[in-house]
Subunit: 338 residues, 2 copies
Amino acid sequence: MNQRKVSIKEIAELSGVSVATVSRVINNNGRFSEETRKKVLQVIKDTHYETNNIAKSLRMKKSNTIGILVPDISNSFFANVVQEIESILFKKGYSTIICNTDRNEEKEEAYLRMLEGKMIDGLIVISGVKEFGSTAINKKTPLICIDRKPKDTKSTILIESDHYQGGFLATEELISKGCHNIAIIIHRDFLSSSKERLLGYQNALKKYQIPFKEENVIHVTVEEKMSRTEAAKAALLQKISEGYQFDGVFALNDRLAIGAIHAILDLGKKVPEDIKVVGFDNDPISKYCYPCLTTIRQDNMLIAEQACENLLALIDGTRKDMKKHQVIPVTLVSRAST
Amino acid sequence: MNQRKVSIKEIAELSGVSVATVSRVINNNGRFSEETRKKVLQVIKDTHYETNNIAKSLRMKKSNTIGILVPDISNSFFANVVQEIESILFKKGYSTIICNTDRNEEKEEAYLRMLEGKMIDGLIVISGVKEFGSTAINKKTPLICIDRKPKDTKSTILIESDHYQGGFLATEELISKGCHNIAIIIHRDFLSSSKERLLGYQNALKKYQIPFKEENVIHVTVEEKMSRTEAAKAALLQKISEGYQFDGVFALNDRLAIGAIHAILDLGKKVPEDIKVVGFDNDPISKYCYPCLTTIRQDNMLIAEQACENLLALIDGTRKDMKKHQVIPVTLVSRAST
DNA sequence: TTGTATGCGTTATCAT
DNA sequence: ATGATAACGCATACAA
């Protein structure tokens, strides 16, 4: 009972027909008699034949595989989006190769070459340091960007949350709870999403006639071997030690927000009584930290669905009129920290 | 400048040599003159040629691809292990197809067929409902199980944390802090890891001459649309309402532990003063919840390294004498909840 | 050192 | 309705 690999050729021999006929039966195209169909199917069952997709891909110039580039799969937002994408695509008969780039440009290029060599039918790029555009990948490979601007803005599709709205809602929440002097904690300020969130913050201030002050912007850089939470906490404590005062914090993600909370509690102040805090992402920790964190929820399901839908449309060549920039609304999740 | 796909054949023509020679240059095997080498490499550079791995795989019967089966990639423990595995394998020239099975048996089978069709060189299976063994995958495909017993125990390698030790350490921690009546919250009791953790709990009790009581075992089942945390909280509250009393809780994972904490706090009791809690997994939330959660940390890096090392050895056919059952030590992370 | 020819497992074209 | 065969892109045994 040695389970050797069996090919279409052997199926043909065992069935007493040609490989062509077997292929037709398998793919159910072309004509063949009911009799041969039964016979062939029986042999396939008996031999546990599985079609060799490598050969099929080569012949068809279609791999039924799509690649996903993601900076860090252990980030809860990315993990959720990727998981959902993978699930949707699988239902459509596609397999997904998830590439964790670690925000490393070389690694990204290497991955792209690998994906190209595997003849991927499409590519989804999630977030990342700079505009996306690489010579490693064929220009005609269908491409969807999520949270990352493509170099070729006018022909490739960009899907992202309404980061501006998120920043606005977060800030408005703080203002509505009585904050007048709101710090904003920024991590990767070069990301377009960060810029948009900052803009939302600024415009919310403007709406309520609160002057924007440069000193309220706290940039944190995360050193090696340090978590975002620790870095944010350190940065805020440093700033406070220099005499900085504030009554609210909008952190560009939940990890940073937790760091801010820790800093505040460390100083003997209370959240939300003395200082209120809002994060971004609706990371699971936002629900379980203390106090529970008010945050902005991105609609990752919708993002994933829309990405897949658009990508598959590009692959199939149906619909050429898709919107090049699709913005997904976000919502405020109000919890104890405000 | 239309970037059409260029094959080895065209490289041959442009270089004025045969495809065989080009192939030899590319793979740097066989003999060829320095002159042709230069010429060919130049043409390759000019044309942006990339080797077609699909064709190569078909010819070589080796895809340089490995598959990973995982129940739920958004689980922090799985995400970490998978990420590390992927990173290691990538360095070794392998790409990884991550398959999220959702603990769904049909999906698992479908994935395995897909992977088989892609001629994967190896397979890593992480956790899962029942013993692993499927006819969909070729018996001779190198296989490593992590946290999941293989059907064929004596020939396939199983790598797992020392769940027994984890259960023991967790329970001992509670006892050493003065607990005498320790509840244990179990979720998927059919998992071998769960059984081992329970066993560790029982033996720790025995060591300190505390009688094991069946009523201390709380089984929770997670309904659709309900989180583990909510389910654990509900289960514990239910039990308490029936008059159940205890002074410590060992939850088989951190999400359950948080649920327990919430239940306890809801009743106006204090953690750790009135009741102490220990979790399992060292999930990020354990660090940021309130109070911070004492938990058991699995060494996911080591698990990943060991899995890759063993898998690659199986693929290369080197070393035939690997231990079939490899147990990775765990450590206690002591925090505020005890 | 280099070229020719074959085959990997499929699908598709063109006969019959 | 079915069969023979070419082609997909590559690596290699064998010739030259």
